[in-house]
């Protein structure tokens, strides 16, 4: 009898021990992202998530943008991928069409997630064939950073938010850029003796075929063009519309006619436009709001931001944002969804907004971000919000990377002055037609 009692007790104890061990077995989620500027904010949010979800441990993996997409594709091939990772519109269309991402729609419906708190156009980015692959995490629009010191030195008033451009004579935008483009004798681009072969400072920079989002595509829209493809996942190439061709010609003119910006090679090979802006070689650069954090490290000069100049058909900015995607083959779908639901939710976006690194995708939290920004350069940061009034979105297509590679190469040749815009457009059309089908 006594022996039996001991036996029972031993069994009880052991089962207790085992269940305790099982309880300690946390699900580990791998979380991959590329922007170091946002690491601190997301670490704070994820720590709060782990406090509330003691059964989940999240491991953050920072991979720089240049390696990020190669890591993802090779990871997919090896079936060894982070469960949750940052997605970008440029790569989303290729991944989603090949079945790499988990459809969140069933989870959103099951948990009654309120998607009306987000900017609706951002929600649409992650939409494909009736399914929803992401909830928006943040957003960005495009404005122009300018170096106040260079404006002061040239005696030119700072650009105001009502400035304009047009493809005929360039408008205020070109005139201001001309006054800030100087040759090695200090003559500006409006001086009759100005030597365009000896420019030491450019009024504007970042003319490159690959600079679509912060560059030429905004000007295509502002001139009344549709964009690159007729609609998301459409199959019609529309960059050959006369309005688009005219806007691209204007971009080529900035380099080859007005001489206010260097050819693509100067900012693609060796040194980005950003490097040259911070080195005070460029008075103005187009910059997405994601560059605000990088801008904070500028100490050599004071700077501010102004909205894009108004075009013939108004002012239009690219509007884009990121989302957290879930890998379709993750063994921890439920836990991954809990993490994503938290990260895109109001509370987490509030935590992240307080760090003032990126604009939150939850519309009502924008003021939290602005408060976090108060007293910091640039003074005019709210202009990025004004730019959400009239926007265009990223061209989506399953073969986008291949299409964009062709566009970048041909436009670089045209912006560099080696071929004309109509030939570049014809070349692009010939090479992408089979990819669009």
């Amino acid at each position: 009898m006594k022996r039996t009692a001991w036996f029972v007790l031993a069994v009880l104890l052991m089962s207790l021990l085992f269940s305790a061990a099982a309880g300690a077995q946390k699900v580990q989620l791998r979380y991959m992202f590329w922007d170091q500027n946002q690491e601190e904010a997301y670490r704070a949010s994820i720590e709060e998530f782990m406090r509330r979800n003691p059964d989940i441990e999240v491991v953050m993996e920072l991979v720089e943008w240049n390696d990020y997409w190669t890591r993802l594709t090779t990871g997919m091939a090896a079936r060894n991928l982070p469960d949750v990772f940052w997605g970008h519109a440029a790569y989303f269309s290729g991944f989603v069409a090949r079945g790499a991402l988990l459809d969140l729609k069933p989870y959103i419906e099951r948990d009654n997630v309120d998607t009306s708190i987000y900017y609706q156009r951002l929600l649409d980015v992650w939409h494909y064939e009736g399914a929803q692959y992401g909830l928006p995490k943040d957003w960005d629009t495009i404005a122009i950073f300018y170096n106040k010191d260079l404006f002061d030195r040239a005696g030119v008033p700072y650009p105001t938010d009502d400035w304009t451009w047009n493809p005929q004579d360039g408008g205020d935008f070109v005139r201001i850029a001309q006054l800030l483009t100087l040759d090695d004798q200090g003559r500006n681009a409006l001086d009759p003796d100005f030597d365009p072969d000896r420019i030491v400072q450019y009024g504007f920079g970042d003319i490159a075929g690959s600079n679509m989002q912060a560059g030429w595509l905004n000007f295509v829209w502002m001139n009344g063009g549709t964009g690159v493809i007729d609609k998301p996942y459409g199959n019609k190439f529309v960059l050959n519309e006369p309005e688009a061709v005219e806007a691209l010609q204007f971009w080529s003119d900035l380099v080859n006619k007005y001489h206010v910006a260097p050819p693509p090679e100067a900012t693609v090979a060796g040194g980005s436009a950003w490097d040259l802006f911070t080195a005070e070689r460029f008075a103005m650069v187009p910059a997405g709001s994601w560059m605000l954090t990088a801008g904070r490290s500028i100490e050599a000069f004071s700077w501010d931001v102004v909205g894009l100049p108004w075009g013939p058909k108004g002012r239009v900015s690219a509007f884009n944002g990121l989302a957290h995607n879930i890998y379709a083959n993750t063994p921890h779908k439920e836990e991954a969804w809990r993490l994503v639901k938290w990260l895109e939710g109001y509370e987490s976006q509030k935590i992240v907004a307080e760090y003032g690194t990126v604009f939150p995708a939850v519309e009502s939290l924008v003021d939290v971000f602005l408060n976090a920004y108060a007293g910091r350069e640039p003074e005019n940061v709210a202009v990025y919000i004004d730019l959400t009034e009239n926007t265009g979105t990223w061209p989506m297509h399953v073969n986008w990377n291949e299409i964009f590679d062709v566009i970048g190469r041909e436009l670089d040749l045209a912006f560099g002055g080696f071929i004309d815009i109509p030939s570049a457009i014809a070349n692009i059309e010939a090479q992408v037609s089979h990819l669009l089908e």
Binding site: I199, E265, A266, A269, N399, E410, D412, L413
Partner: protein, 296 residues
């Protein structure tokens, strides 16, 4: 019986000695090569399982104008790079082999670019070559000359990248030739000096024939390596402007990892492999037979 056992023991020891290398070759070379040949007959987007498509990838490539263009750029790269680089290295090696001052310093200077990381080397050169802000064009302008669009124009970009490549890997080829020059017996050279042969005659009649096996080896290695050129065009121009420097392996990389067409990428790898084998055989047939291997 005893002998046989001894023989067997030696054989086992021998296999053990080559085992590390053999395993490395199997795991990192042979298996991937065989897998690549297999994958070249499939459509594979890296995300889903490969699907058997027969020769479809090869047919697609033959119709692809960029494939032909990248092949053409690579051949051009090989034809310009290999003879220039190897001959230049031979000349420098012969000069460095003399008793000159600063011999070690000079040798080091030629080796440093070779042991540097090529992405860093490439990026540095893009700054130097930058048409607007680069140091070379600034000097040219000081001297009253025109700027040269080193990496900007389609005509200049390939020669510029080749020039950097020649410079970067010169050190490796110099070492190869220096080793070859050390193999030339001193008596032969001394006998020639006693006979009154000039330096020029000695170079052509003694150095060249005796170093010819090394020269042949170097040309083959250089050819194989240059066919696979990737790093500098990737770091300096990403194949641009337009397609001016879009060499074969750069396009292969893009197809595989950016465009998610791994089947076509592996087919490209198989074609390049066959091309390199064919070119090497041709080399051996045409030049290999005339090489004097009898050094003593």
């Amino acid at each position: 019986m005893w002998r046989k056992r001894r023989f067997r023991q030696e054989a086992i020891a021998g296999y053990l000695f080559v085992a590390p290398n053999l395993i490395g070759f199997l795991v990192f070379q042979l298996i991937p090569i065989v897998a690549a040949v297999g994958l070249s007959f499939t459509a594979w987007d890296l995300i889903n399982d490969p699907q058997w498509v027969g020769l479809a990838n090869y047919r697609t490539l033959l119709k692809d104008p960029v494939f032909r263009l990248s092949l053409q750029k690579t051949f051009l790269f090989v034809i310009i790079n290999v003879p220039l680089q190897s001959v230049l290295a031979l000349i420098i090696a012969v000069l460095l082999n003399q008793n000159i001052r600063f011999q070690n310093l000079l040798r080091t200077l030629f080796i440093v670019p070779w042991v540097s990381m090529s992405v860093a080397v490439g990026l540095t050169w893009t700054w130097i070559f930058n048409s607007q802000f680069g140091i070379i064009n600034q000097i040219l302008q000081r001297l009253g000359m025109q700027r040269i669009p080193w990496l900007a124009s389609q005509d200049w970009a390939l020669p510029s990248v080749i020039a950097v490549n020649i410079w970067q890997y010169l050190g490796f080829h110099i070492i190869v030739f220096l080793t070859g020059l050390q193999l030339i017996p001193r008596e032969v050279t001394e006998a020639a000096i006693v006979d009154g042969a000039s330096a020029w005659t000695r170079f052509w009649r003694i150095t060249i024939p005796l170093v010819s096996p090394i020269l042949f080896y170097d040309l083959i290695v250089n050819m194989i390596g240059t066919f696979q050129i990737f790093d500098l065009p990737f770091a300096m121009t990403n194949g641009g402007p337009g397609n001016a420097t879009r060499v074969y392996n750069l396009y292969l990389y893009q197809k595989g990892f950016q465009f998610l067409r791994m089947g076509e990428a592996t087919a490209m790898a198989v074609i390049l492999f066959l091309l390199i084998v064919a070119t090497s055989v041709l080399f051996f047939r045409i030049i290999g037979r005339r090489i004097n291997y009898d050094i003593t």
